[in-house]
Symmetry: C3
């Protein structure tokens, strides 16, 4: 069965990624082209020209239309061919390409890959700290992960890996954290999984240290996953014994988008609520996060993907720890949602 | 069914490509080795040594024989092993490799991949302007295209793409060509397809500009395709209203040779009939053409191939324009010829 | 049927390759991790963590245990999880990974990939000249070959290729060896194949020349293959007419280890019994050998693999010369041993 959930909003870029030219991105193994009409509205079409199958992302924008760079056919935001520049200019009936519901919000671009009738922008994750929001400053970024996207969700829903994989970036070195104590709890509400970690009396991570001068503090790391691949990590470091929400607050979004069955896009946004004008610290904050993702996470996740060698996760009979609960529940919810959206006949065969 | 036509002459290189050493090239997914016997005659053999399957192209020439570089077996131009240097020197019956009819003409090397009994050198495309022919000067070259060869034939048989893809090299920028008018007609004669374009009152292309000083002219671009992949493009730029053949003449050959189902060789020759001694302009002419093919055509065609994702062209239900007629006819002729040369049983099954 | 013999010792590295950190290597398409316990004892485990399938080679050593770098599970040399650092610390029953019999001897690390009950260290090839043995000096090294491992065994069991492929390194240029004479004989004893070459009155190879000043000599090159992929080449150059064993002696081991069906590891050791303290000559000796393997053998063998295009060797109906006897016998012995170790049902189906 497919590994992809179609009825879902997927991040396809940051607002600044799409300006005057079309931009291509592969999502769920499907070629998508993004562009803006003359008033700046985002449009998303299947990125393969229906004429000779050229990539529309290699074309250009003419007013409200996207022009194929190969033979000049022009399409509107609904994917309808509006100009055939050749001969009599007749537009043949097959000259249309699929359009996708597309929304721009909070500095992020979202595309709905499933049934357009089911697309509800209210389902898009609320990135309240991104896109020039008052009271926040931060960075957005992107990396490619050479692995099945579910392995990245697994990674993010079990933050205990930060101690081992990220001791000098976004985690805490266990050798300097004697006396710290970790507690966690996992909750599933409908199709949303939460995974909350509280480290009491811990040294701050390298990411927080520039903003939190004390040697010890309480770290609250609350992760929230929404299918298919949107994760919101709300981290704050407070004085020891202080309630969550006081101290320094550094929320981040981790938007994991299947590119193929072997690769995924990882869009991230990371903001903070202190020292809003300190651009040097903002730059460093972005570099530390990106290094943690690219230099620390990606190689490990990529090798997990390789060592699984195409097998399904549960087929391999993993040893399951209590810290895996959130990841396991997310996998079950995803599998259920994917199964539910299959055509009736397929679903019957699967049963 | 295979995508390859076996009973056809394929260009395997330019005369200058094969000198003192054997040269390997893959054609129709088959390893070929080219070499010259002591009198310079071209020979073409299957390039896999029948002993231990080494690439004969890694060997060397000993007189009229090609010596395998691995264990020293020597083969003549018929593929017969003439020397086993080991022990008693007995040549085992399996020690032969297939030979292919090979012809050198007009500075090009041609190999016949099909039934040798059907190989007729008269069928080789007449490259009347290549190979030091009196009255012409020009360049030859090569590039690899990462796409099914038929996509390159499609490209060449529909020259309307030049306006969009090559406005600064071999095409005309539409913004500077107001007042120009294009007409075209397509003809099929037997298995040959012609696709003729006439641009009246057009600015000259960058390729012609150094040789044609007027601001406007009539461009005659006459393309002729011969199966499987030989195209001859006869372009001339004349004074407005003058007959074809006057003015500057710049014919070119585009010899498209399947390497595998995913890649093809593109041998090209481009000549002109003016300023024969101007070597600087010849060099620039070659650079402009190569850049158009490598920097403009290849990336688009390669992406078409990727976006087709292994599907057959007609299965994907392309939107067909009137400018596609020549390409469509070439595809149908190729399909017919490929079908006809299949063994009887296979052909019956296909019916 | 699989191409791999499981019940065999495979070289997994040189002693110096594994020190304070775990090291990963793929053998028979299986991920292995090597590490040393606190007393230096070698351990070999399946390198995929049973928890989330991370590569254990990315982890670190904690005393006698290997710690997974992803979530910190620790395993002993038997592959048993001894520490789950999370929550209650319960170790789930699936938290174990396979261990392999591992032996360190003569400076080489060996792993038994088959039934542990059949692992007998007495079957490991005797590398009497490696690992600081008295009376010898030399080098060890490694390269990757992009080909099925049996093609490398073929290569080594037919030394006549050295004349063609290695005339300036480990072979003799035929143009300078007029008057030399070669004789050879092949013997099979049980599952061991010997392939002995005697070149009388030959110029020395480039490898021997720095140690053997005469212009001519007798070269004795005695190759011994033990399944699956261990070859011992005993070469000596003596005065013309002198018995083998006099003169300069330069034995070498060639340990060919399947990585996948398309690639193999090539561990080599090369020693000599003269000028033991001349480190400059030892360095040169190693460079000449490595160059012969990497620059001369690998490209040819890799192309053989490509041109065989996945077919079985005998299916391709090779032309067999008398010099192929040893290689053919090794292939037959390997096929027999692989067949014998298949489960009974599989063996019955094959019959």
């Amino acid at each position: 069965m497919t590994k992809f959930l179609r009825n879902s909003w997927y991040c396809a870029g940051w607002s600044t990624d799409v300006t005057d030219n079309p931009v291509g991105i592969k999502i769920l193994s499907e070629e998508i082209v993004l562009f803006r009409t003359s008033d700046g509205t985002l449009a998303a079409l299947n990125g393969r020209c229906p004429h000779r199958f050229a990539a529309l992302s290699l074309g250009c924008i003419k007013g409200d239309l996207i022009e194929c760079g190969y033979h000049g056919l022009q399409f509107d935001k609904h994917g309808v061919c509006r100009l055939n520049p050749h001969g009599q200019g007749k537009v043949p009936p097959r000259a249309h390409t699929r359009s996708y519901p597309a929304v721009e919000r909070d500095g992020a671009l979202w595309v709905w890959m499933g049934d357009p009738a089911l697309a509800d922008p209210a389902d898009i994750m609320d990135l309240y700290f991104v896109g020039q929001r008052e009271g926040w400053t931060g960075v957005t970024g992107y990396l490619k992960i050479n692995a099945d996207y579910q392995l990245v969700i697994d990674n993010l829903l079990d933050l205990t890996h930060a101690t081992y994989l990220h001791p000098n970036t976004v985690g805490v070195d266990p050798e300097h954290s004697l006396g710290a104590s970790l507690s966690y709890d996992f909750k599933t509400e409908g199709n949303i999984v939460r995974s909350n970690y509280t480290f009491r009396n811990s040294p701050p991570t390298a990411l927080f240290k520039p903003f939190y001068p004390q040697e010890r503090g309480d770290i609250f790391a609350f992760m929230r996953w929404e299918p298919a691949g949107a994760l919101l990590l709300d981290i704050s470091t407070t004085g020891v014994g202080m309630p969550k929400g006081t101290g320094v607050h550094m929320p981040s979004a981790h938007l994991i988008v299947p590119e193929t069955e072997q690769t995924c896009h990882y869009f991230f946004a990371l903001s903070r609520d202190v020292e809003l004008d300190n651009e040097a610290k903002t730059k460093t904050m972005g570099e530390v996060a990106l290094s943690a993702f690219i230099d620390e996470d990606e190689p490990v996740i990529h090798r997990c993907h390789e060592l699984m060698n195409g097998a399904e996760f549960f087929e391999l009979e993993p040893a399951i720890l209590e810290t895996d609960i959130a990841g396991i529940q997310a996998r079950r919810i995803l599998a259920k949602l994917i199964r539910q959206e299959q055509p009736v006949r397929e679903a019957a065969e699967a049963a």
